[in-house]
Symmetry: C2
Subunit: 205 residues, 2 copies
Amino acid sequence: MTDPTLPNLSRLRGFIGDFTRLVERRGDDEAAILDSGRGLLAGLVALDDWLPDAYAQPDPVHYRQYLLHCDPHERFSVVSFVWGPGQRTPIHDHTVWGLVGVLRGAEHSQRYELRDGPPIPTAADRLPVGSVEAVSPRIGDVHAISNALADRPSISIHVYGGNIGAIRRSVFDPLTGERKPFISGYANSALPNLWDRSKPVPQAA
Amino acid sequence: MTDPTLPNLSRLRGFIGDFTRLVERRGDDEAAILDSGRGLLAGLVALDDWLPDAYAQPDPVHYRQYLLHCDPHERFSVVSFVWGPGQRTPIHDHTVWGLVGVLRGAEHSQRYELRDGPPIPTAADRLPVGSVEAVSPRIGDVHAISNALADRPSISIHVYGGNIGAIRRSVFDPLTGERKPFISGYANSALPNLWDRSKPVPQAA
Ligand SMILES: [Fe+3]
Ligand SMILES: [Fe+3]
Ligand SMILES: [Mg+2]
């Protein structure tokens, strides 16, 4: 039985199973996780038929982050980031590996290098739908992301090497470089129930 | 920072971490899982400060089952069962191991043996708050549970050796023993977000 109006939760459920197996196998081999994880995330964002609307809602003022799944041992988390038109993150770090896959719209990524004084802009990229970018303390951990579209929301799916909403990390003043402590939390107190297989499953595309 | 009006989600989060480690270590050693799992579940239901109200709501007509957590590999699930006054399950099986821990109120458990004809009642037990009962195909898998209280809801927390809402199992006609296929599903399309540690955490009791 299929209903094309229902989100195809089996896609996210499969991704979570696959990513759980990846961290079980590769543990803290960050390079291996980013390498294989990039492929898994590219597969997840290749089709936009699975994200429930509740986790795709922009806020009028700020970008939003909705937790979709946290590994029970907090080895990784999966988060839906929603940017309204003109919205952007502060300049921030992660302290763990992270993968950003664009599901809807387009995003702009600006990377920074930290020295004394203001953060120094380095690579800038436009991230189209389907693209995946990686960050980590090893490969470059400081960036700001913004919606590249002026007329509609953009959404990306992020995977991090920890429970990102609970990690003590930093934001940086763009003019002075001053570092401020930051724990992001999540916008949502309820997660999608991916496990009710008694509900109709939409046809996989 | 503590707020006694907020559910103490850290208790459920800790239980899920502990139970995940248990199934990782013991795999399909059902006796070992029931033995250690019974202690973990007794610890979870020993204090009634953690279940969010959304997963404690009775339905006017039928008992309800709310998924609280499903293991990403579907090795186990944790479910809140809420019985209004007078409500009961049909006679049913599970096909996997299960643990029932009473969190609030009191329940009545009636076990059955299956032969030709109507199910044969065997052990009957009143399950007070804090008690834990086990079922499985090995130790006896067919029972019916009802609210033992006529004037208020009772709630028990169940743990099963699979994604119980998705498992093909059976209910049995009490008069004829006729077996009918049954996939229970879940009452909820959203799960509690246990992972936002940026929220105030209530004082552990
Ligand atoms: Fe970031
Ligand atoms: Fe049962
Ligand atoms: Mg007895």
